[in-house]
């Protein structure tokens, strides 16, 4: 045990480890907060679709030799989020199919473009790292780190400020609209925040695993808690805990960060399932 702690302290001396932990916690916080809303609105898969769009855009940016892909990826993903959430609301089946189409299309197009145009010699590496996020969080540049921090702080602030509105829109959109709420605006805001968070969270888990960050904490918390506030707080705690443990475990054991976090989440989910059953039996 001591050895492990010593090793951890040794690793902590590296600035990129501290940065990874700090950014990881912030991303965990905002992805879990919004995750509750997305899961309840039946948008669990939106994360997947958006992250594929982000992947495709990253590919194009890389092929065009852009130094910072984030500046391109972010707006493109935001626009697709707004479009996707809009069609999803109009017609259920079409929204579903649209999501699948966009998701697969972006993935295929991105990969193809990377293959055709890539100037770098390490193609499979780039693809693999973007898809699974093995160590991306440990290799953030300082600029990316500050950008991530600023965006997550903004997302968290928005969420807290509009907490009650988001609740109302999620629980019963028609009722909220009948009260004169600008639900379109709030849906738009949720879409934008989702896109930003997905792009940020890709650093942590890669584009194939990013949904884990959005879905698992919320679903686990819902197994046990019965109020929106408790679920939100609990999923934030689960998420931060899972991400911190995931990063630490993977730097100690040398495992890929994204999949380590995802597997940890699955474990936490089963624990909460058990707790939920126990709670149900007592009542």
């Amino acid at each position: 045990m001591n050895e492990i702690i010593e090793k951890l302290l040794f690793y902590m001396e590296y600035p990129f480890v501290r940065h990874a932990l700090a950014v990881g916690v912030m991303i965990a916080l905002c992805s879990s907060l919004l995750g509750v809303t997305l899961v309840l609105k039946r948008f669990s898969f939106i994360g997947d679709g958006l992250s594929h769009v982000a992947f495709g855009t990253t590919a194009i940016a890389a092929a065009a030799n852009m130094t910072s892909s984030l500046t391109v990826v972010l707006p493109v993903t935001v626009v697709s989020a707004v479009l996707l959430l809009r069609t999803g609301r109009r017609a259920g089946i079409n929204g579903d199919a649209a999501l699948a189409m966009v998701s697969v299309g972006a993935l295929a197009g991105g990969y193809l473009l990377m293959n055709l145009l890539s100037a770098g010699p390490n193609l499979s590496g780039d693809v693999c790292s973007t898809l699974f996020g093995s160590v991306s969080i440990l290799t953030l540049t300082e600029r990316d780190m500050y950008l991530c921090m600023a965006l997550s702080v903004a997302a968290i602030a928005m969420f807290l400020l509009f907490y009650n509105k988001i609740f109302a829109v999620t629980f019963d959109e028609n009722f909220a609209r009948a009260l004169g709420e600008k639900t379109d605006f709030y849906n738009f805001m949720i879409a934008v925040m989702t896109a930003v968070i997905i792009v940020l969270a890709m650093n942590l888990a890669g584009s194939l695993l990013v949904s884990a960050l959005v879905v698992f904490p919320a679903i686990s918390a819902m197994r046990v808690f019965g109020s929106f506030r408790a679920v939100t707080v609990c999923s934030a705690v689960i998420s931060v805990f899972g991400v911190l443990c995931g990063i630490l475990v993977s730097i100690l054991a040398g495992t890929p960060v994204g999949s380590t976090i995802a597997v940890l989440y699955i474990g936490i989910f089963f624990v909460f399932c058990g707790l939920g059953k126990l709670k149900g039996r007592r009542e």
């Binding site: 309840l40 009650n164 999620t170 629980f171 009722f175 009948a178 009260l179 709420e181 019965g226």
Partner: protein, 238 residues
């Protein structure tokens, strides 16, 4: 006093007209029932009255004081709500949204209003309970309490007793009648249930191939009214 007046109104969505040629008034203190077959456009009409949908043709005039909040709405339950993790208090409080504007958090007055309405609907004891664990009747009463937080003068209800057992149905009607008589709140209700029309309604709007608007007594003698009674009766004795 007339609260809502519709002239030659056509309602629909996505460019399709569902019901047309509607002429009626809703007066304050009315117990107003909207009847008709499934798919005849009752819910669409209600959504149009709430300005969730734009009218296809014609216009809706509302009394001035209804424009800035004051309408309460009890929608049909959506599948999302069935397993929604929210406490009763959170849901009832969300009825206070309209008067809040952009203020992010609830004031003490709003919290007190929510308490009062939970008390009125008899769900105060459940205020920390999770919505999805409640019975159907309790859930409807919670949603009614939420609607009351927004409503000062008029309540629009979309099939408030569908899916409730006879006891809960009775309770619901009792609560509505009390709100109508004691608090002088106008009730506008979509209902398939014959009893609502027979026992409580003052006026009836029937939507269908033949439309009807008038008092209950006249409705029961009209063509659509007899049909309505017959279909309901047939169903009940099957």
């Amino acid at each position: 006093m007339i609260q809502i007046r519709c002239r030659d109104l056509s309602v629909g969505y996505d460019g399709k007209t569902v019901a047309s040629g509607l002429n009626f008034e809703i007066c304050s203190g009315d117990y107003f029932c909207i009847a008709g077959q499934n798919g005849s456009g009752k819910t669409t009409l209600m959504k149009t009255l709430l300005r969730l949908l734009p009218p296809v043709k014609g216009n809706i005039l509302t009394e001035k004081s209804l424009n800035d909040g004051g309408i309460g709405y009890l929608p049909q339950q959506t599948p999302v709500q069935k397993d929604f993790p929210a406490s009763v208090r959170e849901i009832v409080l969300s009825g206070c949204q309209g008067m809040r504007g952009l203020r992010p958090f609830y004031s003490r007055i709003e919290k007190a209003l929510a308490e009062v309405n939970m008390e009125k609907m008899g769900v105060h004891g459940l205020s920390e309970r999770c919505y999805r664990e409640l019975s159907g009747g309790q859930q409807q009463r919670v949603l009614l309490a939420r609607a009351l937080c927004a409503a000062k003068k008029i309540l629009l209800l979309d099939e408030p007793v569908s899916g409730l057992d006879p006891g809960a149905t009775e309770e619901m009607y009792g609560l509505l009648a009390e709100l109508n008589k004691k608090d002088d709140i106008t009730i506008v209700m979509i209902s398939h249930d014959r009893r609502a029309v027979l026992d409580y309604a003052d006026r009836v709007l029937h939507i269908g191939s033949v439309c009807f608007f008038g008092t209950k007594e006249k409705y029961l003698q009209s063509g659509p009214g007899r049909e309505f009674l017959y279909s309901q009766g047939g169903k009940a004795y099957e």
